[in-house]
């Protein structure tokens, strides 16, 4: 924009300038990048098939629950994987894992080899960074057990997160208004679903909606309800949730999957 003022670091002098310029060396460590890649399941991508196999077997239990519909098998698989990631991370938090995450060599190497890593990221919002069209059906997002090796928080000062890990139903207040709290709840629901406890998942996903009207993960909670109901064989219930989801989030990338589901039966 032509009307932008000059950056302070250019116009300032003395202490101001030194202080502003001191941010110039900020950069994440390779270790941090590797740990984060592992935590989101990217570390295993370079390993290709073996990771896919691991992912498949990890979610086999969930998939078998939904043997009626391959779409749901896929959905559950994704859920299970996400769960694996989330659970691993938060379990790590819960256990207050000390010190540094141990990044497996494979992870570090993989992150190191990321194609875009060497170039600095483009300026803020310089345009869509991901041009490809979204996959109509989510295929399994790859996760690896390496996520376990990446504790999320070493810092003690994360009260919101800690509180979130143990939702307190007895509390008179809504469980946790915090983002981390919502995250933990939705994680718990996913965990239940992928462990085959569709009933528990359903009630957790319903509790989420009750506790957080308009919550950050409201769409995800509703998709979880669809999947849980399907797993329970409640086709009518699943269809009702799917219909409601589509009316609320018609443009959501998850919508096509649910639409196809509704058309199917």
């Amino acid at each position: 924009m032509t009307g932008d003022p000059e950056r302070l670091v250019s116009s300032a002098s003395g202490l101001d300038r030194a202080v502003l310029a001191s941010a110039g060396s900020d950069a994440p460590s390779h270790r941090a990048r590797g740990a984060a890649a592992a935590a989101v399941g990217l570390a295993g991508l370079a390993a290709g098939t073996s990771v896919l196999a691991a992912s498949t077997s990890a979610s086999a239990g969930a998939a078998s629950v939904a043997s009626k519909s391959s779409l749901f098998a896929v959905a559950l698989k994704v859920g299970a994987v996400v769960l694996a990631v989330g659970a691993a991370s938060y379990v790590a938090v819960d256990a207050a894992v000390p010190a540094k995450p141990v990044v497996p060599a494979v992870v570090a190497a993989s992150a190191h080899a990321s194609p875009a890593r060497e170039s600095s990221p483009p300026p803020v919002a310089s345009g869509p960074a991901v041009p490809e069209v979204v996959a109509p059906e989510p295929s399994a997002t790859l996760a690896t057990p390496a996520a376990v090796a990446a504790p999320l928080r070493r810092a003690a000062a994360a009260p919101a997160t800690v509180a979130a890990l143990e939702p307190q139903p007895s509390s008179p207040q809504p469980r946790s208004k915090s983002f981390a709290g919502e995250l933990a709840e939705i994680d718990a629901a996913r965990r239940l679903l992928s462990s085959g406890d569709a009933k528990g998942a359903l009630s957790a996903a319903r509790a989420y909606a009750t506790d957080h009207p308009g919550g950050t993960f409201a769409p995800e909670a509703q998709v979880l309800r669809v999947d849980a109901l399907t797993a329970l064989g409640d086709v009518a219930g699943a269809r009702a949730e799917a219909t409601s989801y589509l009316s609320r989030y018609p443009e959501s990338p998850a919508a096509p999957r649910l639409r196809r589901l509704l058309e199917k039966e």
Binding site: D4, A23, A35, G48, V85, P115, A125, V130, P159, E220
Partner: protein, 185 residues
């Protein structure tokens, strides 16, 4: 070590979501980490916060509009930073006091080493309310244009301009305090 073309193709076959996530990761990891750091976290807190942001993005990938990955990640990390900093912010609010950081007082000749400058920056930036802080960090430290910031934060350009102006005023006030302390030291 960097010959990854084949791997990329495999990823494409394995998972489009995986590719999308990976691209977002490669394109934005550094930016998100720097943002976390500059918005008020320590290095290791920034590691964790960045990781959190990408975990959230990974699980919400379906609901993130294509091309909005950066905005989503940034918005997420801002919230994570706010969560982590809540305790510290509360301490500031109750005391209204500059924490005792005599070690940060600049030498009269302003021959500050980089680490000390960086510590002052942390302190000064953290005094800004989050809405001003994000704009300040993006504009002054990240070098984003005001138009880019408006897009990223989904706020009108005029709002960006006014937040930047107020942020600069507050930045100056805080810096003035440091300069005075330096003079008195």
């Amino acid at each position: 070590m960097h010959a990854v073309t084949g791997e990329w193709q495999n990823e494409g076959a394995a998972s489009d979501d995986g590719v999308r996530l990976r691209r977002a990761f490669d394109a934005h990891f550094d930016f998100i980490w720097r943002s976390a750091r500059r918005l008020g976290l320590t290095d290791s807190e920034a590691d964790d916060a960045t990781q959190s942001a990408f975990i959230v993005a990974a699980r919400k990938l379906d609901s993130i509009e294509l091309g909005k990955e950066r905005a989503f990640l940034f918005g997420t990390v801002v919230r994570v930073v706010a969560d982590v900093r809540k305790g510290a912010a509360r301490r500031y609010e109750t005391t209204g006091e500059v924490p005792d950081r005599a070690d940060l007082a600049p030498a009269p000749d302003e021959a500050l080493d980089a680490a000390r400058s960086r510590a002052i920056l942390d302190d000064v930036v953290q005094r800004l309310p989050m809405d001003l802080r994000t704009v300040f960090v993006l504009f002054e430290l990240e070098g984003a244009t005001m138009a880019e910031i408006a897009t990223l934060l989904e706020i009108p350009p005029g709002t960006v301009a006014s937040r930047l102006r107020r942020a600069r005023e507050q930045f100056e006030v805080s810096m003035e305090r440091y300069r005075k302390r330096g003079g008195a030291a």
